[in-house]
Point group: C2
Chain length 527, copies 2
């Protein structure tokens, strides 16, 4: 998830301490590795890389100590792959005695393009506090500089803003002590014959690894919190790779513990300095609590979690169903919008209706597990909602779902109705074929989140080749542009697009983009 | 002292561990006070203040918590007087949950004028690392921000570079924990009837207090090391006020312990990360080691120190005397220049000759104390040097000393020959009267160091009123311009003069300017 702007800071929240204690019990032990850089590099114009910036080696890393750095000298260290962790480096002075402090700037970048931009030029609405840049004074050398913050990066640009005319700074022993809830190991990468797919899988696995921290974070560089929408996809990818189900359980309890007083689950929660629910609420995200619990139970059959969290899931469904009218139409309100995608250039009402069907089906499965005597009420509701969707939203003439009062045809409506399996597989296949013919190629969608759902809809309607082709043209394209991990935002038609107007703010390692791990496992290896 | 540029980093130094241990034994216990700001202020145009910038209160300090700070908001806290120490402040967030780090800039300023300048505009040769400005990211609030570095300031400007659109930062409980080797107490200020002089004394005492740290520093904001030239004046001021003679002793041992292999004492030493002699050598500064030992013995009669350090003092004199030719003329060399003053716009040879006489007389006193059998050699040398000075440097026609091959008449030559007491008091009085008539007013001198010697020369030649007038027009003028402590550099004709081209780099609390404490005590209170 990125950013959805709501301020509701008058809302009161419940705190279920029993659930918070359980969430705390499942906190992961953070794993560490000490990683050294592989080269001293510089930016290089490269038209096939993101924004035209690649790197080239200018010196062997073993020569680092030979660089005597004075005012305005700078070096870029390349750690060889994406890293999340804390940075340390030894710094000493050479020349005359150190007659002034050392003034350093350190800039951490996931992609070379970030290094080509000056943070001073950024003045967008998103907080510039996210820019991974530090200004440091060291009064006395030698010193082991031990930065306390965690950074998400592959490159570290170190600029000596000043020494004095009498001495120079020398760097040695740069190390990142990585952090993740899980251990990344190449043995986790399946031996796919298609090497392009294997690479796509590997980068997805690295992305997931980097985002698995004290919770499933949405992005280790920026945002760094637990969003429901990202969690749902991360958990699916985790079940087929790292299998750290305790972390999913921890996150389920965190959401379950802190609904608003009106029962709605917030779209995200913070865990520092304490567990704090955000004041952002999204209709589809609240419902996805049900999905996450459903996926978790499918994977783990955990009676304790089901008993604890089923009432919370039921609450989300009951709140959502209040917005369904007598003929089965979902009526959305401004204070509880659907997210679906960052783009607001398409009508989302049919997508919202589909997500209600998708999650209501999952809820009914959970209600069966719980032997909930109310189950028939939900089955009946589903029937009404399905009927409305078939009778009012599906357009026989085009073979596609329409959305909104203007009967808009968009990809998202088709995709979500297929994922909701309103129709059977054959009909879904027809819908997706029509979608491919009439609505493709995908335009003006910049989120791997939406691309995931499109790809999955192709897979479940049996269009495996088309799904693989889309995966290669989307996630594969990021790799061609230099991705070590997948990005928060990517529009293949506009590779330099940033939702924030500047790549320094982009998160180039973002949870909701890790899903090739799940898609490849589920639809190419398991079936 | 400020900065004299030499690089001699191939020079080897001796290390006398016995002396270094003694220096270590006299390390002071640093005293602390917790000081709170007195007001929230803003810059105000004020033509009678330095560079035209004063301050005005905009809010009561008790209202600090009521300021909810968002992107680009800033506050200036006024601590009411000059402070040297470490800064802490409590910071919390209000509004929605903190969904981004807090990015802060803190700028510490001794004078309001510093706040009117942007550090980005400074590009001079002196290291910009001295600018007291920090950029801080705080990932989690609430937090007690505890800055590890020591700052020298009265004002703290805190700028919120960014929060996010959803929350604001709130500051509370700002404190500076002050540091000094001595306790500043108003009871140390003599009850002078002349309130202008009393204020001049008080500001000098505050200046001295701020510069007395682990050693006598030259400036707590910038440079921050032990220079011989500053030490000599600080010690004199200390004997008549704080009377922390152990700190003088510590500093004497530091210099005595680390001469270069050729015997020369360096102009300054560093004490972090260990005791390190600088590679700068000044002819007059090396000789002032004798003066400091002389003044110390006059004040303390310390046989152990005399026995330990007399050989070092003798060495300095022997090295200096090698540069005196057979008729008593000092012949200076480029690798061992005299400092005298920052200005290089006047000829310094006669001043150098005078300092040799000044220190040779002091050395002979020490040789007497030590019953040194070589004493007659020095007395004979003094005689030759005196004779040369009288016969070749004093111009009977003008009644003034000339300097250099062009027979330049400058104030410094007269002042130092008077301080050296080449002639008796009556003749000195004539010389200084002629100086007042022919060479005054002082022009193009920007150091309190030179002004001190001019003032003292007036006092010792009996021109008390003129001395007081000069003191009032120089140190008094700094007070009128807003000084809480005296400055490193001040030219009354060009109050905005900075030796570094920007007041952000100026030290507005500098050791060599504290001497009204000594002058008032010695010439107005003791006589």
């Amino acid at each position: 998830m990125g950013f959805t702007f709501q301020i509701n800071n008058d809302i009161k929240f419940k705190h279920n301490n029993n659930f918070l204690n359980k969430a705390n019990n499942y906190r992961p032990t953070i794993q560490h590795n000490n990683i050294k850089p592989i080269a001293i590099v510089q930016l290089k114009k490269n038209s096939s890389s993101l924004e035209g910036y690649g790197i080239e080696q200018i010196d062997d890393i073993t020569n680092l100590k030979k660089h005597h750095l004075k005012r305005n000298d700078k070096l870029i260290l390349d750690f060889g792959d994406h890293q999340v962790g804390k940075f340390t480096i030894d710094i000493k002075s050479v020349g005359s005695p150190m007659d002034s402090p050392l003034f350093l700037k350190l800039k951490f970048a996931e992609m070379p393009a970030e290094l080509a931009h000056n943070s001073k030029d950024y003045n967008g609405w998103l907080s510039k506090s996210w820019i991974q840049e530090e200004y440091i004074h060291l009064d006395v050398l030698p010193k082991k500089l031990n930065l306390k913050r965690r950074y998400s990066f592959r490159y570290v640009e170190i600029t000596v803003l000043d020494t004095s005319p009498k001495w120079q700074a020398v760097l040695d022993n740069p190390i990142v002590k990585t952090e993740s809830a899980v251990h990344y190991d190449k043995s986790l990468i399946p031996d796919l014959e298609d090497l392009e797919l294997k690479k796509i899988y590997q980068v997805g696995l690295k992305t997931l690894h980097e985002c698995m921290q004290d919770v499933f974070e949405d992005g280790p560089k920026r945002d760094r919190r637990l969003w429901i929408g990202d969690l749902r996809l991360q958990a699916l990818a985790d079940y087929s790779s790292f299998k750290n189900t305790n972390l999913v359980k921890r996150c389920l309890y965190l959401f379950g513990a802190m609904p608003a007083e009106n029962g709605r689950i917030p779209a995200n929660v913070f865990i520092s300095p304490e567990n704090i629910p955000d004041d952002t609420f999204l209709f589809d995200y609240s419902l996805f609590f049900i999905s996450i619990l459903y996926d978790y139970e499918k994977n783990s059959s955990d009676k304790e979690v089901l008993d604890d969290l089923y009432p919370i899931a039921k609450n989300q469904m009951n709140i959502a169903l209040k917005q369904v009218n007598s003929i089965g139409k979902l009526e959305l309100t401004d204070d509880y919008p659907v997210f679906i995608d960052w783009s607001n250039d398409f009508d989302k009402t049919t997508s919202g209706q589909a997500i209600l069907i998708y999650t209501l089906k999952q809820f009914i499965y959970l209600a069966q597990l719980k032997n909930d005597s109310d189950i028939n009420l939900y089955i009946k509701k589903l029937d009404i909602i399905n009927n409305y969707s078939i009778n009012y939203l599906f357009d026989e003439q085009t073979g596609l779902f329409v959305s909104g009062s203007n009967h808009e045809l968009n990809i998202s409506s088709q995709v979500w109705m297929v994922l909701a399996q309103l129709f059977d597989k054959n009909k879904n296949r027809e819908i997706m074929k029509t979608t491919l013919k009439r609505l493709f190629p995908v335009k003006n969608i910049a989120t791997p989140y939406m691309y995931h759902h499109i790809t999955q809809a192709l897979f479940i309607s049996g269009l495996k080749n088309e799904a693989v082709e889309l995966m290669k043209s989307y996630w594969g394209k990021m790799i061609q542009l230099g991705a070590d991990t997948y990005w928060e935002a990517f529009d293949p038609d506009h590779p330099s697009y940033s939702p924030y107007g500047n790549p320094i703010l982009n998160s180039y390692c973002h949870a909701w983009s890790c899903t090739p791990v799940y898609l490849i496992n589920k639809y190419l290896l398991s079936e």
